[in-house]
């Protein structure tokens, strides 16, 4: 715990400065308290920030504090927190105790041995989807890459599959795909007629051939989640491959947009602990707490992510359930994006995709 005392020393000495005093006057107490505090009475959770923080707070952090007496401080992490995660473990400066990780982040961190084991099994969390628990990681929510389209543009005859997205004669309009091989290669193969359950291993050459056909018709290659929702909300494009929660945010805001779940590719986001963390026990306790179906159901009231504990649907109203990726009707027309294939091929695919898109 030497780091802890060093940290608060720095803070105190800085607080003596004029800037520190000015800050101290306006900062809420929670922010001033150093993140690395005495073990077991407080943990720091890195979540995606923004609208996620209040949602996690309401459904997980506050109930956990109430149940255990362990305080949860939340900080915002990056979309790809792996670099920070690695730095935290290697320098042993545990500013985070728990962090949300995608499957790809989990696998990369696993490979470099940067995750702390969770020490619990599927039997400890009944109802959990089998894909959402490994020895070092537990999934809490499911997101999906789906086809979003404008209902003012496609009123009666809407695109219902990636083959429709590729069909520029029958469905004229401006299109957008993500500037990334992940999901895009799968979508190309689905458009080319590969069945959903036979996608992996990906036939890469076939995928790029299919992409060649659609390339001249792609108006925008998007790079960030906020950009994708802005594109479809403003009508800059008429159909787009994007993440369901982004599309749902646009729909909830009243834009004429609809989600086509068919041939969607879902993935899971969950919790991991930086290896060697001195508060790992409290962190494990927190993660286990998040497997609770009632807590997961509460989370879906705020954000359109699917619970990983399918028992949660017992208490989710049907109208909301239909907007979630793990709702039975939605889940059965989608497939999980296979992380083991991407883990082995991502670097090569990135290079090839970048070269391809430059033309």
């Amino acid at each position: 715990m030497r780091k802890t005392s060093g940290f608060s020393m720095d803070r105190r000495s800085l607080m003596k400065g004029a800037a520190g005093v000015a800050l101290g006057a306006t900062l809420p107490a929670g922010l001033l308290r150093p993140a690395v505090a005495a073990a077991a009475t407080q943990i720091t959770v890195a979540d995606p920030g923004g609208p996620y923080s209040p949602a996690f707070r309401k459904s997980f952090y506050d109930p956990f504090e109430k149940a255990t007496g362990i305080k949860v401080v939340n900080v915002a992490r990056e979309a790809e927190p792996t670099a920070q995660f690695k730095a935290i473990v290697e320098t042993k400066s545990y500013t985070w105790d728990v962090c949300t990780l995608t499957l790809s982040a989990r696998d990369i961190l696993m490979k470099q041995n940067l995750l702390e084991p969770l020490n619990f099994t599927a039997a400890d969390a009944p109802g959990l989807m089998p894909d959402s628990l490994t020895s070092h990681w537990m999934g809490t929510d499911v997101y999906s890459t789906i086809l979003g389209y404008r209902t003012d543009k496609f009123a009666a005859n809407a695109p219902q599959s990636w083959a429709d997205f590729w069909n520029v004669e029958k469905f004229p309009g401006r299109r957008s795909l993500r500037k990334n091989p992940i999901d895009t290669l799968e979508q190309a193969l689905l458009a080319d007629g590969v069945p959903l359950d036979q996608l992996y291993p990906l036939d890469v050459d076939r995928a790029f051939k299919a992409l060649d056909r659609i390339k001249p018709h792609i108006a925008v290659w998007w790079t960030g989640g906020a950009q994708s929702s802005q594109l479809i909300q403003s009508g800059e494009v008429d159909m787009i491959a994007l993440w369901n929660a982004r599309a749902q945010a646009v729909i909830d805001g009243g834009a004429p947009v609809k989600i086509g779940w068919n041939q969607g590719l879902y993935s899971i986001e969950g919790w991991g602990i930086p290896r060697g963390n001195p508060r790992a026990d409290a962190a494990r306790q927190f993660i286990k707490f998040c497997a609770d179906p009632a807590r997961q159901a509460a989370f879906t009231e705020v954000l359109a992510y699917g619970p990983t504990n399918l028992d949660a649907y017992k208490s989710i109203p049907k109208e909301r359930a239909q907007a979630l990726p793990t709702y039975e009707e939605n889940l059965k027309v989608m497939t999980i994006a296979k992380e083991d294939w991407w883990g082995a091929n991502r670097s090569k695919m990135n290079e090839r995709f970048n070269a391809w898109i430059l033309g």
Binding site: T26, L27, T44, G49, T91, S234, A355
Partner: protein
């Protein structure tokens, strides 16, 4: 002019020999700062690029991978094309505006500069989304076009969109770098040339323009090198052709966690940027910024200088040939109004995004709709009711202020040192002070995290200030160097002859005379910190949130008008501060 400088160089050599210490010592704090907080952490990270991922044995594999395909080279080329075009356009559009500003009466100039600086106070995230709202298919311009029955234009997701966003971001930097140099030019020199029979075109190109060249060279360098590191603007406003190398480096660091290859890519870009700087130095005399040209130009570089003079004469002839007929066509009255009119247009371009952002801040829609369907204060309520937003704002202002003071002080000393030194280390030191601008920010950010973790500065405000000062130093340094270059050291000598010691000379003679450069340096450093995201992400660890970081986190799911409301609040605070500063300055005069 060059004869005069030559003369003063000669006179100075004797004085310099007397000062055993040598003025280069003034650069020592800056050098030490950069050695600890820049060179060491960055080299440690770049060192990974020659190590094997598994065994840490020496390897050239990561570099071999770059050469194995042409994709990295092509992305490098497009990065340089975009940065080069941005710099060129910023100079072309910025020079006449700076010229116009320089000859305005001081009071009016102050007001006009406020307008030029408007883009500074809007976060680049917000600016970029404002351009999407303006240039999009359903955007402001195309709504007007289709409303008047004209065909809509493809303004976004192509090179045009990128240039609009990039030049908009870089133009104020270019103008404010050139301006202090132009205001120190003695306009009577132009009159003298005309009295001696030079046609107006010759008087401008051969006298005024030549004297303003240090400012142009500095502005070109700053805009070019800072454009090299851009990636969000090209990603959001451009198409696939506008891919930047910085983006690929970030992908390797954050998504692939392959720091060795990221280090190799960063080194690749660094070498290319350094070669470019070297060529630039040959062409425009980069080190001239620190006051070297006259001696060199008179000596070994005679051919280049002759070529330069010939180019300027040709430009003078061309503009005279063009100016004559245009002048007859428009009449003298119109000709006089041409420059103010042009300047007004450029200023409209500069404030356009702000004009979109302000109404959106008051919208009732949850989106960035323009025009807003209704007006209300909801997004301001969201902002003021959030401790996170308010504390991030306070922290950003405090950190930026501290960064600006530190960077101006350290860079000012270094610029003075270099200007008065004749050491052969000068070129190297100059390049070293520019280096933090060339190294991709993410490399600095990751390197600093490791260093800060070892000395307990992670998630502290002091860590943020140090990190931001590293990034701000080059901007402050170049801004001051450009002005110091035109400084007449004989004035300092005169003060010394009259009995002033070195400190009094510095405070009462040198500093007041180079004030323009110091103000520009302070501003650039402030803005660098205030709008900085990458270092904030790593150093803050999410605990000490700054405003750009909070904006970045808030816009994950969708863009909401809170960002616009924040921009309006920041803008109001900055304007209030500037007016108070102006009011405090008044009585003294």
């Amino acid at each position: 002019m060059s004869a005069a400088t030559l003369h003063h160089d000669g006179a100075f050599a004797a004085a310099r020999r007397r000062l055993r210490f040598g003025p280069l010592w003034l650069a020592a704090p800056g050098l030490a700062f950069l050695a600890v907080f820049f060179l060491f952490p960055v080299l440690r990270l770049l060192g990974l690029s020659v190590q094997d991922l598994e065994t840490s044995a020496w390897t050239g594999d990561h570099y071999a991978r770059i050469v194995a395909t042409d994709v990295y080279f092509r992305v490098l080329m497009s990065t340089f094309r975009i940065a080069g075009l941005t710099a060129l356009l910023s100079l072309l559009f910025g020079y006449p505006l700076a010229y116009w500003l320089a000859q305005l009466p001081e009071r009016q100039r102050g007001l006009a500069i406020l307008a030029v600086m408007v883009p500074f106070w809007t976060s680049y995230l917000v600016k970029t989304f404002a351009w999407m709202v303006i240039l999009g298919r359903t955007g402001v311009i195309n709504q007007i076009l289709s409303g008047t029955g004209m065909p809509t234009l493809p303004l976004l997701h192509n090179e045009f969109g990128v240039m609009a966003g990039m030049v908009h971001a870089m133009l104020p930097l270019a103008v404010l770098t050139m301006l202090p140099v132009m205001t120190t030019i003695d306009r009577r020199l132009v009159q003298a040339a005309e009295t001696l029979g030079a046609p107006p075109a010759n008087a401008f190109w051969l006298v005024y323009f030549q004297l303003s060249l240090p400012g142009v060279a500095a502005a070109g360098l700053l805009t070019f090198i800072s454009s090299l590191g851009f990636f969000i603007v090209p990603a959001l406003l451009g198409g696939p052709q506008q891919t930047m190398l910085a983006q690929l480096i970030i992908t390797q660091i954050q998504e692939m966690l392959n720091w060795a290859f990221a280090g190799a890519l960063a080194t690749f870009m660094l070498v290319a940027a350094m070669v470019t700087c070297w060529v630039y130095d040959r062409l425009f005399g980069l080190s001239s910024l620190s006051g070297e040209t006259s001696g060199r130009a008179g000596g070994g570089q005679g051919h280049l200088r002759n070529a330069g003079m010939k180019t300027l004469s040709a430009l003078a002839k061309a503009s005279a040939a063009l100016g004559g007929p245009v002048g007859r066509l428009l009449g003298p009255k119109m000709m006089d109004r041409l420059l103010p009119l042009y300047s007004a247009l450029v200023i409209v371009f500069l404030v356009a995004p702000a004009l979109v952002v302000v109404p959106i801040a008051f919208t009732t829609s949850p989106f960035l709709d323009f025009p807003p369907p209704g007006y209300g204060l909801e997004w301001f309520r969201v902002y003021f009711n959030s401790d996170l937003w308010v504390s991030a704002t306070v922290r950003s202002f405090a950190v930026a202020f501290a960064t600006a003071i530190l960077a101006t002080l350290v860079a000012g000393l270094a610029a003075l040192a270099l200007a008065r030194s004749s050491s052969r280390w000068r070129g190297a030191i100059f390049a070293f002070f520019l280096a933090p601008m060339i190294v991709p920010r993410i490399v600095i950010a990751v390197g600093l995290f490791y260093l800060f973790a070892q000395i307990g500065l992670v998630a502290t405000d002091l860590g943020l200030i140090i990190g931001h000062t590293v990034l701000a130093l080059p901007f402050a340094f170049v801004a001051i160097s450009a002005v110091v270059k035109g400084h007449d050291w004989r004035l300092d000598q005169a003060a010394a002859t009259l009995g002033a010691n070195r400190f009094r000379t510095l405070m009462l003679v040198t500093v007041p005379l180079i004030r323009g450069g110091l103000v520009a340096a302070f501003l650039f450093a402030f803005i660098t910190s205030f709008d900085e995201l990458t270092v904030a992400i790593f150093v803050s660890g999410g605990v000490k949130t700054t405003l750009p970081k909070q904006m970045w986190d808030d816009m994950i799911l969708q863009l909401n008008p809170t960002l616009a409301a924040v921009s309006v609040v920041v803008f109001a605070i900055v304007m209030a501060l500037l007016l108070i500063a102006e009011w405090l300055r008044r009585p003294a005069r």
